[in-house]
Symmetry: C2
Subunit: 135 residues, 2 copies
DNA sequence: GCACTATATAACCATATAGTTATATAGTCA
DNA sequence: TGACTATATAACTATATGGTTATATAGTGC
């Protein structure tokens, strides 16, 4: 048995194991980066958002997101690869659902940060100055 | 006073305001996506990681990250734009520090997710199979 | 079998960006 | 002032990827 210990020091992204650290950290960093990247796309966030109140099939997601079928399908495939959504075929439809509600924790944290630290409110006000004149 | 309410329903990324929702959601989604994108880069994660135990100047970060000065500087500029790090010139040096420890909460959540939902342990074992033979 | 529908994928284009090299900027000290 | 150091930036290349269109695949029902 070569590799037993698996305690992950989250904060530092160091992973204590009986082996070379540098290589693994490099790999771990890329792993984490890819995970963030999966979430770093408006259309994918939109799809995740649409799945918040339960599973939906590709047609529904295509409609809700306003994207094309091919594009939505591509994003769903990627999200499934990262285990952010679960895929289930039923008949000729394919239903997707959020794999884990913790995805929303993530968004919560990020949105919280944005609100607190990136002056989202200011930005929103600016955005609205441009779009809300019709009200 | 045009825009008062600012309650952000984080989970759904809906922002309740007295105005058009679709446009803003679009903007908000892009905002969140960009934030994730800032974190979706191994070198930037490495830099953030290096800053965990306190501020460092560009030379130090260049050394620690193993990148070139120009590249590290570019990433630092981007991180500063997203308020992930704070910049402070002292003499001819420029020191950077983590703007907010919540960045690590984010990593914690992501790493936790990865560990739980993406079989990081399995992957790590595989990675180590390749790199730890020299031990 | 065939027609029909739903989803996935291939091929392609356009854009964004990480990294490099070279240079500019700015602070320090003589 | 000029030499020196630290950092930022400009110009460029190469790569990755989001979106599109067209096509393939697969399930259903006749």
């Amino acid at each position: 048995m070569l590799f037993v210990p698996m305690s992950i020091s989250i904060k530092s992204l160091h992973i204590t194991m009986e082996s070379k650290m540098s290589a693994l950290n490099e790999q771990a960093l890329e792993y984490v980066a890819k995970y963030f990247k999966a979430l770093a796309e408006p259309m994918r966030l939109k799809v995740l958002n649409a799945l918040q109140d339960g599973e939906k099939n590709v047609s529904q997601l295509t409609q809700l997101s306003g994207g094309t079928q091919a594009n939505v399908s591509k994003h769903l495939t990627l999200l499934a690869q990262y285990n952010l959504v679960k895929r289930e075929s039923r008949g000729t439809n394919v239903y997707y659902r959020i794999a884990d509600p913790s995805v929303y924790e993530l968004c919560e944290l990020v949105c919280g940060q944005i609100g607190k630290r990136m002056n989202l409110e200011e930005d929103i006000k600016k955005l609205f100055t441009a779009t809300s004149q019709t009200n």
